[in-house]
């Protein structure tokens, strides 16, 4: 994916290699710079959902009739995934504006700025999941098919985050309201996603809301992979996938167009 490449008279694979090198280097920068001067460093990725899990896991069961199996683990999968999503989106949305000094300096492909933020969060997410496998192995819910379900969900998730981040970060350069809008939406979005509840607790007549929310299938796939809860039904999976594809294509197109003139608005 080459967005806003300069027209050098060099072969395509050279440009692609440079893009990958630059992205790797920017991702590395994000990872090293984020937790500098902190004592717990990377562990914060783990501590946040852990605290949320303990609080929600204690309070929420008072309000639901049918209990979700392995509820603490269920919560943790959702919270970890949600934090990856919301952290990536809220940070990359403002990223072009925040990195204006880079934009004004040189003509590199602009998309490395938001995508490097996403990849650094992805790295943390995967490491945190690696640690999380220990309690999962204890409850013995993993099967061979977990791998497919997990990576299917992961591919959908990363695609969606890249698409929506490109879209919002590009628009935020001209319309700074976008950033505030995204922050506000994230609060609502959390409750519109099956993180602390499961979709089976939602009345059928309202299920269209979750069909519009791509995170529904993604979370169901993750939850299925790790603790064997229900898979998303085919309607849900199809409509969620189509929305992800549409937003991602739209995001790439908007970013490609807007990135030519980022400098004019910064």
């Amino acid at each position: 994916m080459l967005i806003c490449g300069m027209s050098y008279n060099t072969p395509m694979n050279h440009e692609l290699r440079h893009y990958i090198e630059l992205l790797t280097s920017m991702t590395h920068k994000e990872l090293t710079a984020r937790y500098k001067h902190t004592v717990f460093g990377f562990l914060w990725i783990f501590i946040n959902p852990l605290l949320q899990m303990i609080v929600i896991g204690f309070i929420f069961p008072f309000f639901i009739k049918e209990a979700i199996p392995h509820y603490y683990l269920y919560l943790f999968i959702g919270l970890l995934t949600w934090n990856f999503f919301s952290l990536s989106l809220s940070k990359s949305c403002a990223s072009i504006v925040n990195e204006r000094s880079l934009i004004k300096k040189a003509a590199f492909p602009r998309s490395v700025i938001p995508i490097s933020i996403i990849f650094s969060n992805l790295t943390n997410y995967l490491i945190a999941f690696g640690l999380f496998l220990i309690p999962i192995l204890l409850v013995n819910t993993l099967t061979i098919y977990s791998v497919f379900s997990f990576f299917g969900g992961l591919i959908m998730l990363v695609t969606f985050i890249i698409g929506i981040s490109l879209l919002t970060s590009a628009l935020n350069v001209r319309f700074r309201d976008i950033n505030f809008f995204v922050q506000a939406m994230l609060i609502i979005w959390f409750y519109a996603t099956p993180i602390i509840y499961s979709l089976s607790q939602i009345p059928d007549r309202l299920s269209w809301i979750w069909r519009l929310n791509p995170l529904t299938s993604i979370l169901q796939l993750m939850q299925h992979a790790l603790i064997g809860s229900a898979l998303p039904d085919i309607t849900m999976l199809t409509s969620n996938s189509l929305i992800i594809a549409a937003i991602t294509i739209f995001g790439i197109l908007i970013f490609r167009e807007e990135s030519k003139n980022f400098d004019d608005w910064l």
Partner: protein, 246 residues
């Protein structure tokens, strides 16, 4: 085997429109009162730069010089027209920009070099030269926030000149660091001027242009008004006298 007429930059019918925003526009402003205050910074500008030319661009404030430089650097795109550049363009504008305060000088060289278009292998091959040129000594392993502004500037200059630019864009105020470093920077630039590199300088400092450039382009209201040799300098500013060669 150099071809004397090879083109380095070809600009065709470049126009650049800016929207004048007194404040950052909001969504509401955009849709409710669609105010179209625009300003054409460049108007149908066509320019051919050949390989190895040393060009000085002159013009009053607001004539479009900086916009032209940004378009040649690929930092912004023209509203209409065609930009073709052949070779690596490096601008010495905003040298201290693009460093990350929490990363070490060493890590920042990699990051900055890649942003300028260098590959990892190229940087690895040149990192010793870059560190030596920037003269940072033990600070190379310290995070950038511990650097003085002069040190950051030196590092920025060192990375940019080691990026092996085919086309070099210079802005005025190229006063990097202390007297010692200025001499070193000047020597490095003179080296570039002697080589076959294409150099484009934007400045109000006519003496510098007279000393270094062989082609002068005078820009006024976003268009080329004069294009030629050093005689343009005295037409541009009748009070200006060509300095005597030492």
């Amino acid at each position: 085997m150099k071809q004397p007429a090879a083109i380095a930059i070809q600009l065709t019918d470049i126009r650049k429109k800016y929207q004048i925003h007194h404040e950052k526009p909001t969504l509401v402003e955009k849709f409710i009162k669609d105010h179209n205050e625009t300003f054409w910074a460049l108007k149908k500008l066509t320019l051919t730069v050949h390989k190895g030319e040393k060009i000085g661009i002159i013009g009053r404030n607001g004539s479009g010089k900086t916009t032209l430089l940004k378009i040649m650097a690929g930092i912004t795109a023209p509203t209409s027209g065609r930009v073709q550049t052949y070779g690596r363009v490096v601008s010495l504008i905003d040298l201290e920009a693009g460093f990350h305060a929490d990363l070490t000088g060493y890590q920042n060289i990699y990051l900055n070099g890649m942003l300028l278009g260098m590959s990892r292998r190229e940087i690895e091959a040149k990192i010793k030269d870059i560190i030596a040129f920037a003269d940072l000594k033990q600070f190379i392993d310290a995070p950038l926030f511990t650097y003085s502004s002069g040190m950051a500037l030196r590092l920025g200059f060192a990375v940019a000149v080691h990026a092996e630019p085919d086309i070099l864009l210079l802005d005025e105020n190229l006063s990097a660091g202390d007297a010692n470093f200025r001499i070193k920077a000047r020597r490095k630039l003179q080296e570039f001027f002697r080589e076959e590199k294409t150099i484009i300088v934007v400045t109000h400092y006519l003496d510098f242009i007279a000393e270094t450039c062989d082609r002068i382009i005078h820009i006024k209201n976003g268009a080329v008004v004069r294009d030629g040799g050093l005689e343009i300098l005295s037409q541009y500013d009748p009070d200006w006298k060509r300095p005597q060669k030492k």
